[in-house]
Symmetry: none
Subunit: 413 residues, 2 copies
Amino acid sequence: MTGKRTAVLVVLDGAGDRLIPELGNKTAFQAASTPTLDTLAREGQSGLMNVIGPGMTPGSDTAHLALFGYDPSATYPGRGPLEALGAGMDSQPGDVAFRANFGTVEPDFTVVDRRAGRDISKEEGRLLQEAIDGMQIEDVTVRFVHTVEHRGALVLRGEGLSAKISDVDPHEVGKKVLTAKPLDSEAEKTARIVNALIRESFDRLKDLEVNQQRISRGRPPANILLLRGPGKHHDIPTMQKRYGIKAAVLAGGALYIGTARYVGMDHIHVEGQTGTIDTDFDNIAVKVIETIQSGYDYVFVHIKATDNASHDHDYKQKVLTIERTDAMLGKILDAVSNSVVVAVTADHTTPVSVGEHTCDPVPLVLWSDFIRPDDVIAFSEIDAARGGLGHLRGMDVTPLLLGYAGHIHKFGS
Amino acid sequence: MTGKRTAVLVVLDGAGDRLIPELGNKTAFQAASTPTLDTLAREGQSGLMNVIGPGMTPGSDTAHLALFGYDPSATYPGRGPLEALGAGMDSQPGDVAFRANFGTVEPDFTVVDRRAGRDISKEEGRLLQEAIDGMQIEDVTVRFVHTVEHRGALVLRGEGLSAKISDVDPHEVGKKVLTAKPLDSEAEKTARIVNALIRESFDRLKDLEVNQQRISRGRPPANILLLRGPGKHHDIPTMQKRYGIKAAVLAGGALYIGTARYVGMDHIHVEGQTGTIDTDFDNIAVKVIETIQSGYDYVFVHIKATDNASHDHDYKQKVLTIERTDAMLGKILDAVSNSVVVAVTADHTTPVSVGEHTCDPVPLVLWSDFIRPDDVIAFSEIDAARGGLGHLRGMDVTPLLLGYAGHIHKFGS
């Protein structure tokens, strides 16, 4: 192998598990029929991975930063910027971003509904977005994008902004919207901007025609914007800068798209790719193959439904998602096996028995048609524990992929 | 598992070993009958651990700091503060503490007996302690506690103290007590205080009635205090601060109690718990169960006799201690298995063939009734080498325990 290959990282979200009694004391990976993953395990190298570190329970965002090769303790910007990037917004170093949602308040700002009935349509969202987006407060520009239902993302751009401010959402109906307070001396301006923004959002939204129509239909008006998860976009080097590579993300969930864009990946839209079991696995396979063939050096594919099934304690759906992902992988490898290095793993364990992320390590398989095999012949948490890759951290994955794919220069001579 | 559990760390001191010819070339762990430990290995996860790092021979104090999750290279305060805390003293950040012992000198400070005959009784110790404790030199308060025989611990409290001073003990009979010298510019005051303290101890002790009685019995008088092992109590975050947990230590030896108190554990007294094979294993089991049930989040249990047996080259006693510890563990698990996460390990290897600490790694088993098993079915150095935890460092143990026990917050969202 002298030529460069495309590094392909496939993450099954929350797919790691513990022994599941209903599956004969097997994990979901053990119970699922996974001919492709087992081939990768037989021909490649397996390992067990603490994505953040032993005993550490990863969030999905921090886990993905680690998997992309970024130390989350130094680079995690908070949820806001990742959601904003995931919503297609242009968050940049220095910006402060928030998760935003429409709520319903009385004129005295007492919260009636924290989610404005949850039923904001796409068209309503467009009109509400128009009312907010582009707002200017002092020297700060406010960008806002409506995403789904009551949700959106908001970016502040201006001089001297800080994410160190307190919450405005009282998280309880019947209480008044809170005043954002600076949590350190550098956050005074941002707190002032946010408080003005919230008041201004009420003034702009309360009499909008879309809200008058909602009221006439007996629906709560979306008459205020509530903000949470503030985060400041760090100035981190992109994957392009670090490795000189072109990287792409194919994902259904905004958080994963956002985290990938944060490290410089291009988002490749796949018709029918969603965060659920109904995601179009065939279309994803076709688009992954196209992306590889179009010259991308690094392709990240995210499958979310394993995590949803785990949170719902639904082991059947978890197994089914793994099997469909396995079939998708088979199609990809049939087409491009001699031009890729592939890693398949999970970002964390979400046992169906628990329904929440836990600290249990996840299996990883690394495959290419030239890689030296170990003696593991199946893909699972149990098998991977005695694999040739040993025990790894999440931050090892991207260097391994890029190293074998020929994208990391020799160190020394 | 969604609720929190109690993390239980059981350390058999110096219990790691090499192949022992008298035991048919087995280690003590392999030769001992350990039904409980083998169950933990079969149902849990094993690993091999370099407590400090590959090739590093741990001291008992540094090893325990690492096992508690503290980097010993950054947090080890020297022996003095740990002994002082182990003696029940109130050592605080900024204090300088010493191991102290009574000796016998001529009026010109020539050392006659570095240990004053070793036979200071409890009552004599009390009277000698009264003469020293509370001494004031410049702005520095001297606290002293007699522990056993000629031994005690001494704490200096005042402004600008440093542990960087040279030794006063000439470590040889017939030589004069040395003058403490500052080893850097910030230690001048402390050296001056210590030299004054040594002289003052002679003045206060030489004519005491307890010493006149010793002389009349033909015993050497305890007429001077010799200090060694100076250390400065660092300002480190307690386990309570780092993890929000309540932690407890059950140990027979002062050094282990002191090291545990240094990181913020409460010492739970167990009637009959000692540093020898005669320690009351049944009482320890009862008290461990009580401590778990009383709401402690982290319980550290220390068994010292394995190390003593190793230093004495006594493989039979080593095996016997392991078997008694195994029975003790069985009793604990019979009572509380569904409310704990347990780790059992050693702080270092002390081969009976060597009689000293060595750098050989030690086995670790991590067990809970929900943990994913590996394929190791017995607890030993040899079996653990292919366990599902792989190869670990001492500093991994407490995060692993607390992560599985539900005491570490998810990082990210």
